[in-house]
Amino acid sequence: MSASAKPIANTRSGTGIPTARLITWWVIASEIVIFGGLLASYIMHRIGHPEWAESASHTLTWAGALNTFVLLTSSLCAVLAHKAADAHDGPKAAKLLRLTALGGLIFLCIKGYEWTLDIREGFVLSSGGFWSFYYTLAGLHGLHVLAGMIIMLIVAADAAKNQELQRVECIGLYWHFVDIVWIFLFPLLYIAR
């Protein structure tokens, strides 16, 4: 982990973008096509099956909205952490990152509660096209939230020691991307009828 173990390759910056941020951008690009492929498949099915609107009306809009709010707020924490990192204030950045991770946790809890209600009503992964996409899309997104939280806590642990501060911005970028995905999932899964 120690910075001295880094190869020279990692410290160069031919593009003017630090390697850490550059790889983050590429990861985000590859995530765009993964989510994009799934969303495109969902959208063309959804337009082709107007009757899915009936299933969609069973989703809990308030839960989705609440989750959107939670993610937006956690994104705010993430970007404030980036600001703190730019000011070389590692401990503050770490605190804000942990807040962001907490936001992710709340998001997952709400989602878990929401899914329990759905399943109680008998809507499971295999009960029709809409629900299959509903659980797959939200599930894939949820996995990204979970992964983001774990990485974020690791980054926070380093940042608290004023180490690897550049990572604070990168995990933030990733988190904002996850946020944006949800910004589109919310109307697609909850509002559109």
Binding site: S4, A5, K6, P7, I8, A9, N10, R12, S13, G14, T15, I17, P18, T19, L22, I23, W26, V27, A29, S30, E31, I32, V33, I34, F35, G36, G37, L38, A40, S41, H45, H49, W52, L125, S126, G128, G129, S132, T136, L140
Partner: protein
């Protein structure tokens, strides 16, 4: 300083299995790929024996039943593309060459690099595990069209199908990690002075291939998740009776599957460019034009995918669009091949083994290219689709890519990898023993294809027109040629492993080449460069007028 951490000599296990050194990871990919190639080649041997000599005991295997035949062809296809071509062409050469050629000490993210290999190894093991499960390995063709692949009651290999899908998904993740690492390293970690157009073509092409892979694999990863749920959680993504659509998978698959062709083609093209330049002692003809054509190919490869589906039940009007784009993509590829041929003009060509392979690549790949026109033009594809004509066509592209170009690369960089030369005589024997039988295998298949032999059929006994003796003779010829070709591969293996110990020592720059990897000792030490190089010029400065030496390395000041 970097070298500090490397000095402590790690234990064997750490050194060979948990090394983060790009050269070691390259070797891991190379040898895993070679091992898988042996397996895939064995499968080819088994099902060609069944086709050449129907319903007889295959030595070393036994009777080939229909179920086993399907599994064999499926696994041959999957393994040769995903576990041989990709790891060797992109991962092995990419890992070994990129840091050396752009003049840095390692990948930008060595531990991500190691992780990518470990995931890849896991994927290979998962695939091989599917041979041990109940029902045996998946037999629904490497395209895995649902509902056949989605429903155990249809494919009769429920566990094998799921394992196959898992293996492919893992393999994709491995190459996403690897590819992103290659891209970042090349973009950010170049030696001072190495500008965009000073990067050797092979690095360019491996990076572009990684990017194409990244952009095309995403939707299929999503599709794989859907198919996995169809298999295991009885969802209906591809089930027409439950609001799904089997065509969606076909589109997702080929939206990845066609760019995939160029993902493996480009690195091969890059290797050939390097080899041709060195052994013709010539600058690559129109370096920039080659790059522009590569970008054009990369982009166009995303708009042609449905030419694999002309008769698959897509709306016939769409076929016209994809037919046009398909002919369009032949334009930059032709240009690229012409430029390679033009590179020979005015050179002084040394026909060492690597050069033989490289020239063979161009000569054979052209055949593969032109036969693609028959399939890309929708009219004739109605008849030729899913016949042996298709098989012959894409083997005339994939064998030059994954066999011939790979041999060009291995024989060319072997001195750098192991510090010793391969045996030239054995090399030439192996070359002719591979290239001649290769043509004898697949030219007959063009004919059986035009005669209507359909693919993935274990015996033509049921089909009166196909079981004509004339056609059976052609199949037997092809099988015999395959046996010869496979036999000659042992010459290579012998040469390869013998020379590691007893080859004549190579020295830093045996081919008198200009790129940076030849400025370091062979094999390169940890950290590659004693002091980090600076680059002053492009990669192919051969035969500069008014110089004693006919080559000018990139790192030599004027």
């Amino acid at each position: 300083m970097t070298t500090e951490v490397h000095h402590a000599e790690p234990g064997i296990f750490r050194k060979y299995f948990f090394s983060t050194d790009h050269k070691m990871i390259a070797m891991q990919y190379l040898f895993t790929g070679m091992a898988m190639a042996l397996i895939g080649g064995f499968f080819a041997y088994v099902f060609r024996m069944q086709l050449g000599f129907p319903n007889q005991q295959v030595p070393g295997y036994g009777i080939v039943t229909p179920g086993r035949y399907n599994a064999l062809v499926t696994m041959h296809g999957s393994i040769m593309i995903f576990w041989v071509a990709m790891p060797v062409l992109i991962a092995a050469f990419g890992n070994f060459l990129i840091p050396l050629m752009v003049g840095c000490d390692d990948m930008a993210f060595p531990r991500i690099n190691r992780l990518s290999y470990q995931i890849f190894l896991l994927s290979a093991l998962v695939l091989l595990a599917s041979f041990l499960v109940k029902g045996g390995p998946f037999g629904g063709a490497w395209t895995a069209y649902p509902p056949l692949s989605a429903v155990g009651a249809y494919n009769l290999t429920p566990i094998g199908a799921t394992l196959w899908l898992l293996a492919v998904a893992l393999e994709f993740i491995a190459f996403l990690l690897g590819g992103i690492n290659f891209t970042v390293t090349t973009m950010n970690s170049r030696a001072p002075g190495m500008k965009m157009y000073d990067i050797p073509l092979v690095v360019w092409m491996i990076v572009l291939a990684s990017i194409i892979f990244m952009c095309s694999a995403g939707p299929l990863i999503a599709g794989a998740v859907m198919l996995l749920f169809d298999q295991t959680m009885s969802t209906g993504f591809y089930d027409p009776t439950r609001g799904g659509d089997p065509l969606l998978w076909q589109h997702l698959f080929w939206f990845f599957g066609h760019p995939e062709v160029y993902v493996v083609l480009l690195p091969a093209m890059g290797i050939v460019a390097e080899v041709v330049a060195v052994f013709a002692r010539k600058k690559v003809f129109g370096y920039k034009t080659v790059l522009y054509t590569t970008w054009a190919v990369g982009f166009l490869s995303f708009v042609v995918w449905a030419h694999h589906q002309f008769v698959a039940g897509i709306d016939p009007r769409m076929a016209n669009i994809f037919s046009i784009t398909t002919l369009l993509i032949s334009v930059p590829i032709t240009e690229m091949v012409f430029l390679y041929i033009a590179t020979l003009y005015g050179g002084s060509i040394h026909l060492d083994t690597p050069m033989l392979w490289a020239l063979a690549f161009i000569a054979e790949f052209m055949i593969g290219g032109v036969t693609g026109i028959f399939l890309g033009s929708s009219g004739t594809d109605i008849y030729l689709h899913d016949t042996y004509f298709v098989i012959a066509h894409f083997h005339y592209t994939f064998v030059p890519i994954a066999i011939i170009a790979v041999y060009a690369g291995i024989t060319f960089w072997y001195p750098k990898m192991f510090g010793r030369m391969l045996n030239e005589t054995l090399g030439k024997i192996h070359f002719w023993g591979t290239v001649i039988p290769f043509n004898v295998i697949f030219i007959p298949l063009f004919i059986t294809g035009t005669a209507g032999d359909q693919r993935r059929v274990y015996s033509y006994a049921q089909f009166a027109e196909q079981s004509r003796p004339a056609l059976q003779h052609l199949r037997t010829t092809s099988t015999v040629a395959l046996l010869v070709m496979l036999a000659f591969q042992f010459v290579f293996l012998f040469n390869f492993f013998r020379s590691v110990r007893s080859g004549t020592s190579a020295g830093a720059n045996p081919w008198r080449s200009t790129t940076l990897e030849w400025t370091v000792p062979s094999p390169p030490p940890h950290g590659n460069f004693a002091e980090m190089p600076t680059v002053y010029r492009g990669p192919y400065e051969y035969g500069l007028p008014g110089r004693a030496d006919d080559f000018l390395p990139q790192n030599v000041p004027d």
